[in-house]
Symmetry: C2
Subunit: 368 residues, 2 copies
Amino acid sequence: MERRSFVKHAGLAGILAAGSAPAFAQAQPEIKWRCASSFPKSLDTLFGTSEMITKRVAALTDGKFQIQMYAAGEIVPAFGVVDAVQNATIQACHTAPYYFFGKDPTFAFSCAIPFGLTSRQQNAWMYHGGGLQLMRDFFKGYNIYNFPAGNCGVQMGGWFRKEIKTVADLKGLKMRIGGTGGLVMQKLGVVPQQIPAGDIYPSLEKGTIDAAEWIGPYDDERLGLYKIAKNYYYPGWWEGGTEFDMFVNMKAFDELPKTYQAAFESACAEGNIDMQAKYDALNPPALRRLLANGVQLRPFSNEILATCYKTTTEVYDEIASKNANFAKVYGPWKEFRASQNEWFAVAENRYDGFMIAAQRAARTAAKK
Amino acid sequence: MERRSFVKHAGLAGILAAGSAPAFAQAQPEIKWRCASSFPKSLDTLFGTSEMITKRVAALTDGKFQIQMYAAGEIVPAFGVVDAVQNATIQACHTAPYYFFGKDPTFAFSCAIPFGLTSRQQNAWMYHGGGLQLMRDFFKGYNIYNFPAGNCGVQMGGWFRKEIKTVADLKGLKMRIGGTGGLVMQKLGVVPQQIPAGDIYPSLEKGTIDAAEWIGPYDDERLGLYKIAKNYYYPGWWEGGTEFDMFVNMKAFDELPKTYQAAFESACAEGNIDMQAKYDALNPPALRRLLANGVQLRPFSNEILATCYKTTTEVYDEIASKNANFAKVYGPWKEFRASQNEWFAVAENRYDGFMIAAQRAARTAAKK
């Protein structure tokens, strides 16, 4: 009801602005928002997607709904964007929600948690598995509506100066790692550090940290991490399909005309699929370039993955026992994950496995 | 240039229609389109996505751009939709482009071809790998713009009355199989038949066919195929990530105001991600129900997959040698597929493999 009365008011404002314009101008008031990103402009994948979304919103509303994007630090620091949206300093932000696991670890379900859902599974959970509703209930406490607005797929495990052969090799390692993954790593002796994109390279170069995970070949190459640490591990088991969100101040969104709400929602969904497609197109050639630069591609051993998985489950049980928000999401999320993996084990996994082997054989044959 | 002048013209028409309405009414003329689906209304996944898209378009345009959906056969037969769009009998259709491989096998690149791209890879190719441009060049010959508007992921290999243990068991099999997959099957002795969704069950029941592939657990369950043939094979190697398209008559699209064009494009992208999410959420519980109904889940053997892969490559080379349209797309597509599989073999595949094994172990432990 409040929204309806506001729309009417905005319509009146529109009429005043347009002078003698007739009643149907109500539907198209001019609205300007500010949206802060947690990422620098140089990341054309992450920052680029938020720009794609805001441009699309403008195109859908005939230029009437303008959302100005700001890079991390321009008007709000990278990790200050949630406070700014909550307090309505800005109307929206584009971020990786797990950055805010210190406020509440529940944030991370709208992003990535260790051994969590893959990109497709995350979308299934959000759009058709009850996830969006669960997360909306949670974010209400922050005056926020969350909109899935990007995904990068399974991340790489990051850059290590030294080889990591066993769990014991993790001990004492100072590592840049975001979100809940850091909590698990801490249990295994790692000293986790949350450092924004722009500061990772200098931290690794100066030796403030020994290792750093960021995203995957394309973004990692741009940060230049391969110039310092040559061991490139996979998979990033703490990010099986990282979702990036648009967070919007609830009052600001409720006050929008319905067509603008639809425009924002639709553009975010488009941004969601577009970012994943962009990463999937850009990562393969970037990986080839990295390998040509002497990067050593190394899988985490089964021992490391199994130990981390066990520790992760313990961490989740511990958090759930103390945090009702987390527990409320964790139960249904865990069931969803189980049923997803049961299904993906069938047609998807057999197809992927066959294709990877067939294409590898073709590459080998071509080299001969 | 032609489009611009037309939009201007449409704007003038809008002004005439609205009588004394002022100049900015140009942007929002009332437009009605008819869109025919190749699928029956009962398929809430396929037909449901086209409805989601058209409802979104209406919401984005304040109800001014109305696209009426028609189920297969209502105004155009399932396999007649391309002719109808080409001839401007209707403005748009929602279909699986490989149904039209008889017109030209090149159609199938915008859908699925055997041992082709997975859902994510298909999106990467279309949106950021040059695929959309290549396909737009091709579809120009049919007066059509294609828009990716749905994907179902890796399909199942279908329902077989008898077990298929070797390539020899395929000989003489009358099978419902769509698209290019049928061409490959034919080389291996299968008699392929293209039958629309609504007729598959009676054909299998009457024994007109011995086997039928449709999509995956959720849709297959609705067609009731498990009641007749209990052997459920995987993967559907002829459909690694089937894209469904909106085809639009070029003149009709060019005549739309720019905001409506944006609305249509954005809604299709949203439909694309939404359909995949819906399938991924619905398939796991459907598979469980099918298994509870006595369905036998069986993987195609390595011998069968390897032989089919080899035959597929021969079929592609043969088509490419005779068909310039196909050859123009096949070259870059093949390179893209190779580089995708090189990358997916790294983080994605190791993560999937670990998660599937870990969740399987958890299920086994829970049963004890």
